[in-house]
């Protein structure tokens, strides 16, 4: 019979990948927070996939697409919007780089720029909605257009809210640091996701 040693405080972590035992074992589990975000975003992407699939089926079955009587689409404004959104993806990456160098102020500024770009994008969307010559119920293409872009706009809005939350939390000195900045990484991943979805959506709805 042998007595078990007292509990090592390091092992009372919820996940074991910081405990000495695991390091001795030479095995590190992946970071569960990042895995959770990625899995969730993959799931979120499937909503868009379902809608894209419906859109493509409608498109394949229609004799003419967009249907007869749909006004020509203006590509200038959505094109500018697309450029802004893609650029904002690079901008938010700068915020991540900044916080990895422990530069909280730089991180905050880059995030504020990204928020501004997201807001411009949303404003552009609303402006486009008010100036389009077809409504939600004009025809099948119009319905798909409005529902898909609005659903994506909802995600953009949520991304802006996330970034605003990160900025709000970073007002405390030392809340984010080079070791502790998962919130920023998660926001960045989410924003890239929104960006990629928009690229697919833009190609499907405007260009093709």
């Amino acid at each position: 019979m042998q007595q078990i040693p007292a509990i090592d405080p390091a092992k009372t972590e919820l996940n074991y990948h910081h405990s000495a035992e695991v390091e001795a074992h030479g095995e590190e589990h992946p970071d569960h927070r990042m895995l959770g975000i990625l899995v969730f975003l993959g799931s979120e992407g499937m909503i868009f996939m379902g809608m894209f699939a419906a859109y493509l089926i409608y498109r394949a079955m229609a004799p003419m697409w967009p249907p007869e009587g749909t006004p020509d689409r203006e590509l200038l404004l959505p094109g500018i919007n697309t450029v802004i959104l893609i650029a904002s993806s690079f901008v938010i990456h700068n915020a991540d780089t900044a916080i990895k160098k422990n530069d909280a102020a730089g991180m905050r500024n880059w995030l504020l720029v990204t928020i501004a770009m997201g807001a411009v994008f949303l404003f552009g969307q609303v402006y486009e909605y008010t100036h389009l010559e077809f409504g939600l119920t004009t025809n099948l293409y119009a319905s798909c257009f409005y529902v898909l872009t609005a659903f994506h706009g909802l995600h953009v809005t949520f991304g802006v809210i996330l970034m605003a939350g990160v900025v709000w939390r970073s007002r405390t000195e030392g809340h984010y640091s080079s070791e502790h900045h998962f919130g920023i990484e998660a926001t960045e991943i989410y924003w890239h996701f929104v960006d990629v979805i928009w690229i697919v959506l833009f190609l499907l709805l405007y260009v093709l």
Binding site: T12, H25, H29, H32, M46, G50, L140
Partner: protein, 602 residues
């Protein structure tokens, strides 16, 4: 995350660290302990099961006579619609999630789930959505069936339909959040010494289930969002009058709802894989085959959705593709069934209630699977489409599979959840009533469907009356059969005999802690001393001592050829007792069972 979690743990500890100190009020709070959430899930969903059962009884009462005399046809439509929705989205799917919540961290030796607060969020969506769904009766419940096909769903009971959509969206969200949690927990929170292939099979089943949930459920959300626009905004996605296409909805819907049937059955594949070896006292047969066949079922389940749409104008070549892929699913399922049979083959069976339900599961699920092969073939499906044959098939796999699995899991893990044993006699009574009632209810429906009685009708040809009356009698038997179970659970929870830590002499990690487990599940990090299914090769202290004696007696008693297995030096194990004992390595001893002796004599 961890900071908040520590705060929560501290709050719990302020109220008392021992589960025995838990007040019943703790089960009505936003608790983040996975064990509390698991029990919340199970109790809540069981309540919805009773509601769905009442609805089913009303449906069968209506069908006892050919005329529509008990309820109006509109109310009848609402009854079967809400019955199906409640049973699927509020009972079977969340019940699987409830068992997963309770068991996964215990089985892999974790302290809690990966995202405890997300877990609580996923649970608390369920009662909200359930109340929302049931409230639709106040404004005219949905009447389009649980499939809610447009254009029918666009013209009947529109307000109830919208409530139904919102409720199902809620439940889908809850399901996705739960699945994220399970997948991440299993992949990142195992004890350091446990590889994926040393996990209990329930965890493998939950990996497969989570993958299906994550991929398929959002597509249902997309379909329902588009349907909402059709209902509320006057768009024409699924409305033929506006160039829309109802079949697109069917594709999107079944892309979720076919995987949904695997989401509903797969956790209970895992449960059965746990229960059979424990009560047969034999290692599981074909561990890797069972584990990977779950993944195969997941993949195949995603590519067979259109077999629900053979009569929806699907072109012939596509029908052939979906018929073939559907039939291929029988292969991994057959691997599981035969592995289970090989597991109990020649074992020393303990016919406790959990084992009875487990074996009942195999028989009923097998019948349901065979009718599944039948309806997978296109010509037969065209004949029985939307008849009672389909109703019989789905109830055979969902009641005879999932619900039997849930009951088996209840009887098996109730001691771990509450620290008390269920009454064995009433458990057997419950099993007998359930099995007989189930068979009387659903077996005649096959004949009914072959003869052509359509489903979802309140009035039918009088020539079907006899069989319908039999089905109704069976339905009442099923309703009565839950009474012994409910009374048993409530009584045993309070006054049942103390269970001890490991009443079934099992080897998986959840039995290596106290019953019910403490807040942090384990003292320190548990160390695996054996694989999860090494029955007959025990080296673990608490069961090992007695078994070693038995084995030694066997070795002395058997004069045949020794085909023994050398017992490796056991590792020191840090279990609940706080002490560990080294079992001395023995010389070769004979691990035998009656089957082995028979093989020897042959």
């Amino acid at each position: 995350m961890t900071q908040a979690q520590f705060q929560e743990t501290a709050n719990i500890e302020a109220r008392g660290t021992e589960p025995a100190d838990r007040h019943w009020r703790d089960y009505f709070t936003f608790n983040t302990d996975h064990k509390v959430i698991g029990i919340q899930y199970l109790v809540t969903t069981f309540g919805f099961y009773l509601i769905g059962g009442v609805l089913a009884t009303l449906v069968r009462t209506e069908l006892a006579t050919p005329d529509s005399d008990f309820v109006t046809p509109e109310l009848y439509n609402s009854l079967f619609t809400v019955h199906a929705t409640v049973m699927i989205f509020l009972w079977i799917v969340p019940a699987g999630a409830g068992f997963a919540n309770f068991l996964i961290p215990l089985m892999i030796g974790a302290k809690d789930m990966a995202f405890p607060r997300l877990n609580a969020l996923a649970f608390w969506m369920i009662p909200v959505a359930g109340v929302l769904l049931l409230s639709s009766f106040l404004v005219g419940a949905p009447q389009a069936g649980w499939t809610s096909y447009p254009p029918l769903s666009l013209v009947t009971a529109q307000m109830g339909e919208e409530i139904w959509i919102l409720s199902v969206l809620f439940l889908g969200t809850s399901s996705i959040l739960g699945a994220v949690n399970f997948a991440v927990t299993i992949f990142t929170m195992r004890v350091p010494s446990m590889s994926l292939n040393e996990m209990p099979l329930f965890c493998w089943a939950m990996i497969a289930t989570s993958a299906l949930t994550l991929v398929a459920t959002p597509v249902l959300a997309a379909a329902l969002i588009l349907l909402s626009f059709d209902l509320l905004a006057g768009t024409a996605f699924f409305n033929p009058t506006g160039n829309g296409d109802p079949v697109v909805y069917q594709h999107l819907f079944w892309f979720y709802s076919h995987p949904a049937v695997y989401i509903m059955i797969m956790p209970f594949f895992g449960v059965i894989s746990e229960i059979l070896p424990i009560h047969s006292r034999k290692p599981i047969f074909g561990y890797l085959a069972i584990a990977y066949s779950s993944l195969a079922i997941s993949f195949l389940g995603l590519i067979v959705w259109a077999h629900h749409m053979f009569t929806s104008g699907t072109p012939g070549w596509l029908r052939m593709f979906f018929m073939i892929t559907t039939m291929i699913i029988a292969v991994p399922t057959g691997i599981k069934i035969f592995s289970w049979l090989a597991t109990i083959w020649g074992g020393k069976l303990r016919l406790v209630s959990a084992m009875l339900f487990g074996m009942g599961f195999i028989s009923t699920f097998l019948l349901g699977g065979i009718t599944g092969i039948m309806v997978a073939s296109v010509p037969f499906d065209i004949h029985v489409h939307d008849t009672y044959f389909i109703v019989a098939h789905l109830h055979y796999v969902l009641f005879g599979g999932s619900v039997f699995g849930i009951y088996a899991a209840f009887y098996h893990w109730f001691p771990k959840m509450t620290g008390r044993m269920l009454n064995e006699f009433w458990g057997r009574v419950h099993f007998g009533l359930t099995y007989i009632g189930f068979t009387v209810t659903f077996l005649p429906m096959h004949a009914l469907g072959m003869q052509g009685m359509p489903r979802r009708v309140a009035m039918y040809d009088p020539k079907f009356t006899t069989i319908n009356v039999i089905c109704t009698i069976g339905a009442y038997m099923l309703a009565v059969s839950t009474i012994p179970f409910i009374v048993n659970v409530i009584w045993s929870w309070r006054y049942g005999p103390k269970a001890g830590d490991n009443p079934w002499e099992a080897l998986t990690l959840e039995w290596m802690t106290t019953s019910p487990p403490p807040i942090e599940n384990f003292e320190g990090i548990p160390v695996l001393a054996t694989g999860p299914y090494d029955y007959g090769m025990e080296k673990i202290q608490n069961t090992g001592e007695r078994l070693k004696l038995m084995l030694r007696e066997n070795a002395i008693a058997s004069s045949g050829q020794k085909r023994g297995i050398p017992i490796a030096e056991a590792q020191a194990s840090t279990f609940f007792s706080g002490t560990a004992t080294l079992v001395e390595p023995e010389s070769e001893i004979n691990v035998d069972s009656p089957a082995d002796e028979r093989q020897d004599s042959n």
